[in-house]
């Protein structure tokens, strides 16, 4: 019995490491798409955010460490992601260009630039940016001792996990309970109507894209820190997976959370199967296990997508002069 509890605690702790970056980035994508701008540049923005933040850690870790450093890195990641997403915003909003085009351009530029800058700036001229992980929290004081909830949420964790949950709450609040959220949703559904009510569609869409940039940049850092000891100019397709989670979650915060949890849990179970009772004895190889999260996602989608509908004006450039 105790064994089983241990396994479950372990799985949930691992799950957060997969789910939280997906959650943060997908919520970012949500802000952009609900404002009417498709953002397939999430992958590229993650790379830029992760690169800037990890490089920042790399340069400053001689002087400081621990949670203070991580929080500063979070700011760097969000800031650099927002800055980078400005490029997408300008093309998509001011120039009314095809949003897939500028998104693709950003995805292509990001890893190349990260490799290039890393090799230019680092003394050893390699593309990997190394860092020391001093950020793991083994047990949160007090909260970590709560039975059940303690091991599930407050042991072997990162401060970014709580940041992600905080962002979820904030995103749901902003989207549904504030004037800005209402305007954002209006611009994504029917920008002409929003404009006729005096909403500045361009400004709202800029805000949407910038928020998505900040969150995607942050998500890049959150993804890299627990899973690696250096940054190698890639986030392993997590930006595209976040896009999938966003659609899976039907552009709504709570559903995005559930989708991210589902996917993270699937991914955890199938990558940790060799340490799990029952599963490790099944005659199934690791490659087959690794396919399971993607297959189950497809199956779940098959049952839940009948009424799925993207924000109506998402991907359509807003032209004030058009009918």
């Amino acid at each position: 019995m105790n064994d089983w509890l241990g396994v479950i605690y372990f799985l949930v702790q691992q799950m957060w490491l997969f789910s939280i970056p997906l959650l943060i980035v997908a919520l970012g994508g949500m802000f952009s798409e609900r404002s009417g701008v498709v953002n397939i540049a999430l992958e590229g923005i993650m790379v830029v955010g992760a690169f800037c933040a990890i490089f920042f850690i790399n340069q400053t870790q001689a002087y400081m460490s621990g949670q203070g450093l991580l929080l500063l890195a979070v700011l760097v990641a969000a800031g650099s992601g927002a800055l980078f997403s400005l490029l997408h915003a300008y093309a998509a909003i001011n120039l009314r260009s095809d949003q897939t085009i500028s998104g693709t351009a950003l995805n292509m530029a990001a890893p190349a630039t990260a490799i290039y800058v890393a090799r230019m700036l680092q003394a050893n001229h390699v593309q990997q940016v190394a860092f020391t992980n001093t950020f793991r929290i083994f047990k949160v004081p007090l909260l970590g001792d709560i039975p059940v909830l303690g091991p599930l949420l407050f042991q072997n964790t990162y401060i970014t996990t709580f940041l992600g949950l905080l962002i979820l709450a904030g995103a749901a609040f902003v989207l549904y309970k504030t004037r800005f959220g209402l305007r954002l949703r209006a611009c994504g559904e029917h920008p002409q109507a929003a404009d006729s009510m005096g909403v500045n569609v361009y400004r709202v869409r800029y805000a949407g894209v910038l928020i998505s940039g900040a969150l995607a940049g942050l998500g890049g850092l959150v993804f890299v820190v627990p899973t690696s000891t250096d940054f190698n100019a890639t986030v392993a397709g997590y930006g595209f997976l976040a896009l999938a989670v966003l659609i899976f979650g039907q552009w709504r915060p709570l559903r995005i959370f559930l989708a991210a949890l589902f996917f993270g849990l699937m991914k955890t179970i199938t990558s940790a199967y060799s340490g799990l009772p029952v599963l490790k004895d099944l005659p199934i190889t690791s490659d087959v296990y690794k396919m399971i999260p993607y297959i189950t996602t497809l199956i779940v989608l098959a049952f839940t997508s009948k009424n799925s509908q993207a924000p109506r004006a998402s991907g359509v450039p807003y032209d004030r002069g058009s009918r």
């Binding site: 693709t104 530029a109 490659d287 396919m291 799925s308």
Partner: protein, 380 residues
């Protein structure tokens, strides 16, 4: 004057001009990067980039054609789906599934006579790609699952599935952790190696180019005809413009979605066949947990070519050409990543340039209208 106006106003001229502007801006950014990293060689470096494959003589040109082949094929795959209003981000999975199937057929059906084996294997690759493209197509048409998410899932399922199948079949070379040689089914050269080579002393150093480039060109022409000269292609495009209107007009939109994804998958699967049905020393599928990059490279190629099959030929050739320039750039100690940055800038500015093109078009139209009005006034 009229003729100049017509020329300026024509869509083709606008597209060409906008592409040229975007390329110039991209090269300018590349030059700035070269200046920052090593000012002394920057001019020579820019020259190398601009010279592209020509720096390597006829072999270099052959290499450009060789690397352009999968780019054109996946570009066609993505572009064809774009025309139907679908974003085929799953070319990567379709390509690798096709590649494995081609290799499997080449390894296990050797009773097929040599000159036919490559063709059978290539057709098998294309068919497997079609199946892999049909999955998101069916999910979209019947179950309303967004094609982007279904494609992304299929990419990963395809990648892990192929890894599994390679390891559990006779196509696995466990020593090198890759697929076995399939030289017996290599795409024929059709004499291209007799054209594209450079002499190294007495020995002719031939480029890797093979008949694949001719197949890619023929398929591009076929796609152009399908899209622009057939009812079927017209229906697909109509669905891309407005799904509800085309349903109202009696077009079976579900069938169109499915066929469009099947054709896109076929092209990407064939791309995999053309890449991996290689002679000894050519490419093999390595068993790694990374999505095939070639599938994703089709997206910028399709966008640069404005999803037009003929445009995609040129954009595929261009990307291969400038990438080959990046390869030679390494001789000067520059990093080849500069090329990716340049291509990204070009794509980004092609969005700008489209705007310029529209401005020119509307400008000349206005000019023509005001002139007609003036003529009418004069008639009165």
């Amino acid at each position: 004057m009229r003729r100049i106006q017509r020329l300026l106003g024509s869509a083709g001229f606008g597209s060409a001009l906008s592409s040229v502007v975007a390329i110039l801006v991209g090269l300018a950014v590349g030059f700035i990067i070269l200046l920052i990293s090593n000012p002394r060689q920057a001019v020579a470096g820019l020259g190398t980039i601009a010279a592209g494959g020509f720096s390597g003589g006829m072999k270099g040109v052959g290499q450009v054609l060789y690397f352009a082949t999968p780019l054109i094929m996946t570009g066609l795959s993505v572009g064809f789906a774009f025309k139907t209003g679908l974003f085929n981000i799953g070319a990567s999975g379709q390509l690798i599934v096709g590649a494995f199937t081609g290799i499997y057929v080449a390894t296990n059906m050797q009773w097929i006579p040599g000159p036919l084996l490559w063709l059978v294997a290539l057709l098998a690759a294309a068919a497997a790609g079609a199946v892999w493209g049909a999955i998101p197509g069916l999910f979209k048409a019947l179950l309303n699952v967004h094609e982007v998410i279904a494609c992304i899932m299929c990419n990963y399922i395809g990648m892990y599935g192929v890894n599994f199948l390679i390891k559990n079949s006779n196509t696995y070379d466990s020593l090198k952790n890759q697929t076995v040689d399939v030289a017996q089914a290599a795409i024929p050269k059709w004499g291209l190696d007799k054209i594209f080579f450079t002499m190294k002393g007495k020995y002719a150093d031939a480029a890797s180019v093979n008949g694949g480039i001719l197949i890619a060109l023929a398929l591009a022409a076929l796609m152009y005809i399908v899209l622009n000269k057939t009812t079927f292609g017209y229906e697909l495009k109509a669905c891309g413009f407005n799904r509800s209107a085309s349903r109202y007009a009696g077009i079976n939109e579900k069938r169109s979605i499915l066929f469009s994804m099947v054709i896109a998958g076929t092209l990407a699967g064939a791309a995999g066949g053309l890449m991996y049905l290689a002679p000894a020393g050519g490419q093999h599928i390595t068993v790694v947990e990374v999505l095939s990059a070639q599938g994703f490279n089709g997206i910028p190629v399709a966008l640069l070519g404005l999803s037009n099959p003929i445009g995609i030929i040129f954009s595929g050739l261009f990307v291969a050409y400038i990438s080959q320039g990046g390869y030679y750039l390494q001789r000067m100690d520059y990093m080849p990543e500069i090329i990716d940055i340049i291509i990204a800038v070009i794509i980004y500015f092609s969005a700008f340039a489209l705007l310029v093109k529209n401005l020119i078009a509307s400008g000349t139209k206005k000019l023509a209208i005001s002139r007609e009005q003036a003529a009418e006034e004069a008639d009165k």
